[in-house]
């Protein structure tokens, strides 16, 4: 039987952990968006000097496990003199990881832009930076919002790895409560529902944003995200 008394007793602690999870995800998400935008823009440039480092960065991130990246930042970097708290390490690892994926989304969005937009801007005398800020990026972000939201939902799930650095987020807290109460079903069931709830909210948001363009009554309609660019 489900032990409701136990669940309600630990619920405040779970919510605190959920808040920690969202904090890690939101902070990493903001940094990842900045990294992804800058790297995405660089990756559309023609110069090899720009493209090669970007290729190494995204290639490295995509081809190695996030858990190892997390360990590397937290336990590897101190060798070079960079000492980080668990929280800082997690934010850095998640930002770099998510940033690499976002950069490819941004690059795709930039590539899909009509060349006429930047030509019209330049002909009006706008600088490169103004053209990006006022004309190109607003259109790109509108277009890539659904895949960005879905990337963010992966990021939220990925933050569970922060448990290995003893950050009191949802997964770590669940493990702690399970060990304390010997009730693994409830202890891991509650966070599962919480992760699912966030995912559902994001999926609905994404569906709302991408409008009613994609009709269909399948489960994908509710649980899948809108079409990627």
């Amino acid at each position: 039987m489900l032990d409701m008394r136990l669940i309600s007793q630990y619920l405040p602690e779970f919510f605190e952990a959920l808040f920690e999870t969202l904090k890690v995800a939101a902070l990493s998400g903001v940094f990842a968006l900045i990294i992804g935008t800058v790297v995405g823009i660089i990756s559309t440039m023609k110069s090899k000097l720009a493209i090669i480092p970007v290729g190494i960065y995204t290639g490295f991130i995509r081809s190695t496990p996030l858990l190892v990246q997390l360990y590397f930042v937290h336990y590897g970097l101190p060798i070079t003199g960079i000492m980080l708290t668990s929280f800082q390490s997690a934010i850095i690892a998640f930002s770099l990881n998510s940033g690499a994926y976002i950069s490819e989304i941004v690059r795709g969005g930039l590539a899909s832009m009509d060349k006429g937009q930047s030509e019209a801007s330049r002909a009006l005398g706008l600088s490169w930076f103004q053209t990006m800020r006022l004309i190109i990026l607003p259109q790109v972000f509108k277009k890539i919002l659904p895949p960005l939201i879905s990337q963010f939902s992966y990021l939220i799930k990925d933050t569970s790895l922060a448990a290995v650095l003893v950050i009191p987020e949802l997964t770590y807290t669940a493990r702690k409560i399970a060990a304390r109460t010997y009730m693994p079903f409830e202890s891991f069931g509650v966070p599962m529902l919480m992760y699912f709830g966030i995912y559902l909210i994001l999926a609905l948001l994404s569906r709302f944003i991408s409008g009613k363009k994609e009709p269909g009554r399948s489960a994908r309609r509710w649980f899948g995200f809108g079409k990627v660019v």
Binding site: G116, Q117, E119, A120, R122, A123, L124, K142
Partner: protein, 243 residues
């Protein structure tokens, strides 16, 4: 009269394709120059070199007395003081018609917002779009879009307007509304370079007509002479096809 554009010995290639071959061209204040010629002759490329949307390899282009290649400041001066209208409009779809027109004055010329919007309204009235201030480009017809594009270019108070086939993406019934706006501009003394196949329009407003073929200006003559007494065989051939 003041010279607005001076081109000497211009060459431009795309890879191995030699597109512009030793172009010389002078355009003076209040000139309305219509450039015509067969597809692939290099008309668009020539026009786009004038505000350096295309980089060129050889030759010099002075616009408004400034060599556009010699410094960034010169190029930026020329872009601020010239307007361009494209075949496919290239309006900014994410902002309103008013914002399209006011954007460059606000961000490039740093004009106060309320002044820029006042001016945008005036220009939109002038091109017959008083009812569309708050519309988005996606809600307009092709002819309306092109008129917004003209207003957008005029908002910078250009001393030179460049048009690249401004009516060739339009349905026939919308061509006139755009040409009418251009005629008004020409009559107002605007210096214009227009790539166009609208020979009727050229007859009405151009004072000079240039004929390009295979990357060369074959003929550049006052309008009347062009139609009545073309110098080269190529021009005669071309005219017989399109008139």
């Amino acid at each position: 009269m003041e010279r607005v554009v001076r081109i000497r010995g211009l060459h431009k290639s795309f890879g191995k394709l030699h597109v512009l071959k030793n172009i010389d061209l002078d355009v003076y204040e209040s000139d309305v120059l219509v450039l015509c010629g067969p597809s692939g002759a290099g008309k668009s490329t020539l026009l786009r070199c004038i505000n350096m949307l295309e980089h060129y390899h050889e030759g010099t282009i002075d616009v408004l007395g400034k060599d556009i290649k010699s410094s960034r400041a010169n190029l930026s001066y020329v872009r601020k003081n010239s307007g361009m209208v494209f075949q496919h409009f290239n309006l900014f779809p994410h902002i309103s018609v008013m914002d399209n027109v006011a954007l460059a004055p606000i961000h490039v010329k740093k004009i106060p917002k309320d002044q820029a919007y006042e001016k945008a309204k005036g220009l939109l009235d002038q091109v017959g779009l008083s009812a569309k201030y708050d519309a988005y480009p996606g809600q307009l017809s092709g002819g309306q879009k092109q008129r917004v594009a003209i207003a957008r270019a005029l908002a910078m108070d250009p001393k030179l307007m460049l048009f690249d086939e401004p009516t060739s993406a339009l349905d026939p019934e919308m061509i006139k509304e755009v040409l009418d706006v251009m005629i008004k501009l020409a009559l107002g003394g605007m210096t214009m370079i227009i790539v166009s196949h609208e020979m009727g329009f050229a007859r009405e407003v151009a004072n000079k007509i240039g004929f390009l073929d295979d990357g060369k200006i074959i003929e550049l003559t006052p309008k009347n002479e062009f139609f009545t007494n073309p110098r080269s065989e190529r021009t005669k051939e071309f005219l017989s096809k399109i008139l």
